[in-house]
């Protein structure tokens, strides 16, 4: 990998991030960062989907549910008042270990609930287990059957969230506390911490982008592409296709749950609409609109589209515009609108990618 091109790509993303932030401060409209931060968190889910659908070719309509799984676990643990169990033995130990902290909400109601870091770990663990349980049987299926299995899973999760009082039934959970990641870094929606949270979200996205990019440029990435193209041939070449499909499914589920946890702490709450089928369909559509197997394209497209809808540019036509854009992009540019832009950027970076002298078109 020529050093120059790698450095160029590495530099591009932070420059855009900082440029946007400084530009907004100059224009006195830094509040737009809020919607950008929310869009970046949503983009994490679509990145996972790009890996799963674009590279490994496994359709999943279940990532709304994984986002909600992450968000709800941390919301329930950090807002539920566990002081009722103060009597039993374990609580003392947990409290000293800092797992349980006293919470004080705006209206003076005190309570004992789990510390955000512990809740985050629990959310990731629960998602890992659930993704394995649902992934193992589902990934033996193909195409529409896999889509239906994951859609069924999403509906089960969303109806359970709607039905149970613990998860606040239809109103969801609110008053989720801030999450002090590190001494100087707190995930919170307060306007004072807006710039800090913007860079936190973009930093997290950049780290994940780099990790996924390395993954895709390695033997694992090639194995995923091989599974997508011809699973039998990949299997005959020594790739344990079943295990790889499951691993990439679990990884994308963890990414979605991670996004759910950060988003819940940032907006201070989560609602059952996050786990709805419409949300999962929207993630798949965003991945497709971004070019499916094009990691940067998918990220940029999902940030842009989510930003427009969160800004409310289209008013009550928001859904209609999203649907129309989706149809337009996929019918005109199935490889994604940003592919030509990607190639132009590569040319701009000195020389076209030596390893793809002829463009690949499907046979």
């Amino acid at each position: 990998m020529p050093r120059l091109r790698l450095l160029f790509l590495l530099a591009l993303f932070p420059v855009m991030v900082a440029g946007a932030q400084l530009g907004l401060r100059a224009a006195g409209m830094e509040y737009c960062l809020t919607q950008l931060t929310m869009s970046v968190y949503y983009a994490l889910v679509v990145m996972g989907l790009c890996l799963l659908m674009g590279y490994a070719g496994q359709v999943s309509l279940g990532h709304g549910a994984f986002f909600a799984l992450g968000g709800y676990t941390t919301a329930v643990l950090t807002t539920h008042d566990f002081s009722g169990i103060r009597a039993c033995a374990g609580v003392g130990v947990l409290e000293r270990a800092g797992l349980l902290v006293a919470q004080q909400d705006l209206y003076g109601q005190a309570g004992l609930s789990v510390a955000p870091w512990a809740a985050f770990a629990a959310a990731m663990l629960l998602t890992f287990v659930v993704a394995l349980l649902i992934g193992y049987p589902a990934l033996r299926l193909r195409g529409h059957y896999l889509a239906m299995a994951t859609l069924g899973f999403t509906l089960i999760v969303s109806k359970l969230l709607l039905g149970s009082a613990l998860t606040g039934s239809a109103d969801g959970i609110h008053g989720v506390p801030e999450w002090k990641l590190l001494p100087g870094l707190t995930v919170s929606g307060r306007s004072a911490l807006r710039v800090q949270n913007y860079y936190l979200a973009c930093g997290l996205a950049l780290l994940l982008l780099l990790g996924l990019r390395n993954l895709l440029r390695s033997r694992v990435g090639r194995a995923l592409l091989a599974i997508h193209d011809r699973e039998t041939a990949a299997n005959a070449m020594g790739i344990n296709t079943a295990a790889y499909k499951l691993k990439v499914f679990v990884l994308s589920a963890l990414l979605a749950a991670l996004a759910g946890v950060f988003f819940t702490h940032y907006t201070g709450g989560i609602a059952p609409s996050e786990a709805g089928a419409l949300k999962s369909v929207r993630y798949v559509a965003l991945a497709a609109a971004g070019g499916m197997a094009n990691l940067w394209g998918v990220t940029v497209m999902s940030i842009a589209l989510n930003y427009c809808s969160l800004r409310g540019w289209f008013g009550s036509y928001d859904n209609a515009v999203f649907g129309a854009l989706l149809i337009l992009i996929i019918s005109l540019a199935p490889e994604g609108p940003l592919k030509p832009l990607g190639l132009w950027l590569r040319r701009l970076a000195g020389r076209p990618d030596p390893e793809r002298r002829t463009p690949h078109g499907a046979p």
Partner: protein
């Protein structure tokens, strides 16, 4: 209220729900078997059928309104295929399915702006809201019999069309082997347009016949499409008769789960069982495909 008639009543309410899902599932199967696409906008054909019929019913008698709605929505279905799918060549089935998702959203929003967000419904075909057919202590609305009649009519009509008419056989040919069908002189694009049009007509007819019971509003399509998709897969993709059985089964599962579990979990139990069936027998209960050749796109 002895428990036999209670059980019979649960059975009847399961059939009522199941008949609605079945009539949606048939529309799925038609487009799937002709083009291999799972049409996520199938629920929208139902909604459009209901909306157009209600608008027409204000001016013309009910039967004319229903036929008018079916014809109009069939036209819309055909036009959608022409506009969006006709010239797409280098697209995978996954891309086409995502386009139907986009279509579903766009149709919903346009319906919201053409009509409005209010709930409306066709009058009951026979009797009115309170009339019911009673036997053995259980009761069912006559409209359900109309829905079951429509389902039977649709299945028999489809069966006859696909088996004994030339175009029907051509449509089946182009779904099982498009290349061979093309060589045999079948115009594949027209077949696909016809499949969309026919499926839209079926959806519209279903929309009209369920409207008195489920009421029609611009957002009713999406949840019904998901249940119809589940019924089609449970029964066995591609087979209209199996889709009806799948639909009735989903309805009965929900009714059974309501009888023993709290009602809020009826969807949960229906989908848990659906997942179990898919994992064990992916091609569905009456599907024809061999397990390992689960049709992939």
């Amino acid at each position: 209220m002895q428990n036999e008639s209670l059980a019979l009543q649960y059975l009847l309410s399961g059939i009522t729900k199941g008949s609605i899902y079945a009539v949606v599932a048939i529309g799925f199967n038609l487009i799937y078997s002709a083009t291999g696409i799972i049409n996520f906008a199938q629920g929208e054909f139902l909604m459009l059928g209901g909306m157009v019929a209600v608008t027409l019913a204000a001016y013309v008698p009910l039967p004319v309104a229903v036929t008018g709605a079916v014809a109009l929505v069939a036209l819309v279905g055909g036009l959608l295929e022409l506009a969006f799918f006709r010239r797409l060549r280098r697209h995978s089935i996954l891309h086409l399915v995502i386009i139907t998702m986009g279509l579903s959203i766009v149709i919903q929003e346009t319906a919201l702006h053409i009509w409005d967000e209010k709930v409306r419904s066709l009058p009951y075909f026979t009797g009115n809201e309170v009339s019911s057919v009673r036997f053995l202590g259980a009761a069912i609305s006559p409209q359900v019999l109309w829905v079951l009649g429509t389902v039977a009519l649709a299945v028999l009509g489809l069966h006859f069309f696909l088996r004994y008419t030339l175009t029907g056989r051509a449509m089946r040919a182009c779904s099982s082997n498009p290349e061979a069908a093309m060589l045999a002189g079948i115009n594949i694009p027209n077949m696909r347009t016809l499949a969309f049009g026919l499926s839209a007509a079926l959806g519209a007819l279903a929309g009209c016949v369920v409207s008195p019971m489920t009421m029609t509003h611009y957002e009713m399509g999406a949840p019904l499409a998901i249940k119809g998709f589940a019924a089609a897969i449970l029964g066995g993709l591609g087979n209209p008769m199996a889709a009806v059985a799948g639909g009735l089964l989903v309805g009965l599962l929900e009714a059974a789960s309501v009888s023993c579990l709290p009602a809020v979990y009826n969807d949960v139990s229906a989908f848990v069982i659906l997942l179990l069936v898919i994992f064990v027998r992916p091609q569905g209960l009456w599907g024809a495909l061999a397990p390992d050749r689960v049709r992939e796109h």
